[in-house]
């Protein structure tokens, strides 16, 4: 999978490295900013209130 992605990144090696790092950073931002906050309430460990 990663070998396939690496082959399809454009440019010389340093450009590939740069693109890969930026893509990884974007994915982390996406995870922390949107995906994890969305998953979190579905997890069973955040109940603090008494309710029915």
């Amino acid at each position: 999978m990663y070998a396939f992605l690496w082959r399809h990144l454009p440019g010389p090696v340093y450009a590939k490295v740069l693109i890969a790092l930026v893509a990884a950073a974007l994915i982390v931002v996406l995870l922390f900013g949107w995906i994890f906050p969305w998953i979190e309430p579905l997890m069973p460990f955040s109940g603090n209130t008494v309710s029915q």
Binding site: L31, F32, I39, S46, G47, N48, V50, S51, Q52
Partner: protein, 243 residues
């Protein structure tokens, strides 16, 4: 040739599994560290906004001889329903450190990331009834992380626009089922009865991580003084601390 293909397939499966492992690790980092960073910042800003608001609008002077506190603004209503999500008080628990914890109206999860939440139907601080508040035990600032270290006799201070309320914990923290609504009733354990005492109830999850139970702390109002009189003794006297 097929052997080459099989190797590629197996390698891809391995890479996907490693990727999932990294994502799970990141989720742990998010829960353990990132939510606390965000929530601590949000709580600090809620507290400083409240202080600014209270400084800008001095509470209405109370009528002579009246014992009921006034001046809670939009929350000064009989049934305690106010604007959802707005902070209206600050909780101080000397046993748990010097943290100022904002109290917001409502107990939905998104609010608990900015402070602790006031059960909307419960009484307001200092009123007859049960001032009930929920907070995170773990993650999102974890204001009630060490609630289990509180002991009967510990003091809980609630700061509002015009008054300091000091409650004393009645008994050591205890555990109930998540569905035990009676703990936040005006008369705890006796839903429907008319209250005569001024109580406070803190709820949080138990045990850490698995919120299969709720941990409860109860207290009774023992003192109150106007904000102008300065911090109550509970905050200035060197009380026993955990941590």
């Amino acid at each position: 040739m097929w052997a080459e293909r099989a190797r590629t397939a197996i390698r891809s499966v391995g890479e996907i599994l490693i990727t999932l492992g990294v994502v799970l690790f990141l989720f742990c980092a998010y829960q353990l560290f990132y939510t606390n960073v965000i929530a601590d910042e949000a709580m600090r800003s809620e507290v400083s906004d409240l202080h600014k608001l209270w400084a800008a609008q001095p509470p209405t002077p109370r009528s002579a001889g009246s014992t009921t506190p006034v001046g809670l603004g939009p929350f000064d209503t009989a049934d305690s329903r106010g604007t959802s999500g707005a902070a209206f008080a600050i909780l101080h628990i000397p046993r748990l450190g010097d943290k100022s914890i904002p109290v917001l109206q409502g107990t939905s999860l998104d609010l608990l990331g900015r402070g602790v939440g006031h059960y909307k139907d419960s009484a307001l601080p200092g009123r007859v009834g049960n001032f009930a508040v929920a907070g995170h035990r773990k993650t999102h600032g974890e204001p009630f992380r060490y609630l289990d270290e509180m002991r009967a006799g510990d003091l809980i201070v609630v700061e509002t626009a015009d008054t300091w309320y000091t409650y004393r914990e009645d008994r050591d923290p205890f555990i109930v089922d998540p569905t035990d609504l009676a703990v936040v009733a005006p008369v705890p354990d006796h839903p429907g009865e008319t209250p005569s005492q001024k109580l406070i109830t803190l709820t949080t999850c138990n045990p850490w991580w698995a919120s299969t139970q709720r941990m409860i702390v109860n207290g009774t109002l023992i003192a109150q003084q106007p904000r102008s009189a300065g911090e109550p003794p509970a905050l200035t006297v060197n009380t026993p601390k955990f941590q």
